[in-house]
């Protein structure tokens, strides 16, 4: 427990806390609120603060035509392919890094750290050219390939923290009881890692689900747009006319992510900082 602070400090802290809460939460509230408002309320110079009497018309607009559902299908395929591949690769890599001491181990870790710092925008021109040569532009596989490289370093980094967190003695004990090394790993350590795998997977899911820059260059055809691309063109085409529909679309994309995020965030904060700080 922190020491009891002086009264003015506590009052200031509480006031700042409430103001910061409003600034942080209001846009999210406003998105959901506006998604229920009809055109007249949206276009009223005096804002409608609560959606009493609102309806679901905006959501109906979103589902009209198959653009939204198609984008969702593409997004789901890309995201799932990405996390399945990334988790599988990252899992075995993290086992190597945390259960073995070998030459080049430290260099690999440092390389991961450096790769994480490469800005996507610094490479996407040549990634575009590469996918073009491979005939993978506008394909789920092509986008997933660059997404795997995007989430892989972080995934290895975090999973390594989780694997290291399972004491090796547990495996040793199992080996003394007659398990082989592999058996010991899969019977003892692996089940303990399940929460870590889920958390890391969900985090990768969020990253791939939200990604914009790479999707923009890889998925140039309209029928291959992911959800973020669909949403960005939605604002574009409707330029200031249908804010209700745009907010309904944003809400549909954001709500699952927010729920997922709330589920894993505690675990990820500790994973992220311990992963990033410890070697």
């Amino acid at each position: 427990m922190p020491r009891p602070a002086s009264r003015p400090l506590r009052v200031t802290a509480n006031v700042v806390g409430v103001i910061a809460f409003v600034i942080a939460a209001f846009p999210v509230y406003w998105m959901v609120n506006s998604s229920f408002l009809d055109r007249n309320e949206i276009r009223n110079p005096v804002p409608t603060w609560v959606p009493f009497g609102g309806d679901l018309d905006n959501f109906r607009t979103v589902f009209e035509g198959d653009q939204f559902l198609n984008a969702m299908k593409i997004s789901l395929m890309v995201t799932l392919l990405t996390i399945v591949v990334a988790l599988a690769f990252a899992f075995i890599a993290s086992v190597a890094l945390s259960r073995f001491r070998f030459r080049g181990r430290m260099s690999f870790i440092v390389t991961l750290l450096i790769i994480q710092m490469i800005p996507v925008e610094g490479l996407f021109i040549s990634q575009y050219k590469m996918l073009e040569t491979m005939n993978l532009l506008n394909t789920v596989v092509g986008l997933s390939l660059v997404y795997v490289s995007l989430v892989l370093p972080f995934t290895i980094w975090t999973l390594r923290g989780f694997v290291t967190g399972v004491p090796y003695e547990l495996e040793e004990a199992a080996m003394m009881d007659g398990c082989s090394r592999t058996q010991a790993f899969f019977r003892i350590t692996f089940p303990l890692l399940a929460p870590g795998l889920v958390a890391t997977g969900v985090f990768g899911f969020i990253q791939a689900w939200n990604e914009f820059s790479l999707a923009l260059i890889v998925m140039t055809r309209e029928d291959h747009r992911t959800l973020p691309l669909w949403l960005s063109t939605f604002t574009d085409v409707n330029r200031g006319t249908d804010w209700g529909g745009i907010m309904a679309g944003s809400t549909l994309i954001a709500v699952p992510v927010i729920i997922f995020f709330l589920v894993v965030q505690g675990r990820m904060v500790s994973g992220l900082t311990s992963g990033a700080v410890k070697g």
Binding site: A24, V28, M31, N44, F124, S126, E169, N210, K278
Partner: protein, 306 residues
Amino acid sequence: MTDQIVGKPPRARRTPLPYLLLVPAAVALVVALGYPLVRQVILSFQDYGLAQQFGKPPEWVGVDNYRDLVTDPYLWRVTLRSLVFCLVNAVATMVIGVGLALLMRHMAKGVRLLLQTGLLLAWAMPVVASLTVWQWLFDTNYGVINYALTKLGFDFEGHPWLLQPLSFFFVATVIVVWMSVPFVAFTVYAALTQVPEELMESAEIDGAGAVGRLRHIVFPAVRPVLLVVALLQVIWDLRVFTQIYILQQAGGSTRDTNLLGTYIYRLGIGGGKFGMAAAVAIFMLALTVLLTAPYVRSMLKQERED
């Protein structure tokens, strides 16, 4: 900070197993990042434009692309703009984030939970969704922000926020900072709760004032975390792309609001000048290395000391 390995992992020095386990990840990274990096370096020394896109073999032009770039005042304007934008955003994010983390320790429990919920919501919002909401908040005719400012007695009726470059970047800064503060606040707050209370109390007895306590006890204790977080902010804010790109689509002059990321995109994907775009991208990578090298060195030093 100690490595958390309890007990000794096997010293399987001679087995190839760990290397085999690393192969899939390494191959994926080499294919999707390593190869493009090499190709980009090559591309940056070539004349690769629309003609090459349609089958003409690219011409080797040496450092021509780079020479054209560094003699083009526009690149320097974009670079300066990117640097200023990066620094303003990184500093604002760090100050607000660390400030909130420090204050969180003194908030009533209810207020702290409330704030943490709000920050989590902002943090969890998908980038593109946040951008649409903020555009709606800043909307010229029906936006809440213009409404509120007008109510407060300022003349903001029908104010177009995205038209003037400076105002455009103000909006972009608000959005970027709003999105980035939660990560900083949570991470630093988590680190602060790890500072042993005895340390703070002993400082109390020694008579260190609030400022002195911050400087000599609190900051050194959370220094590693502050370094990582600041480093990430600089990287993220230098490469900022999505926010600028989408705001540009919504209005505002592209030429006056380009940062390095959107400049590369518009040169390459938009304008078909792949050679030039590759050269700007290499320039941006070099700039990232330059800006982050001191941090990285200090982080690696920390790592070795532990």
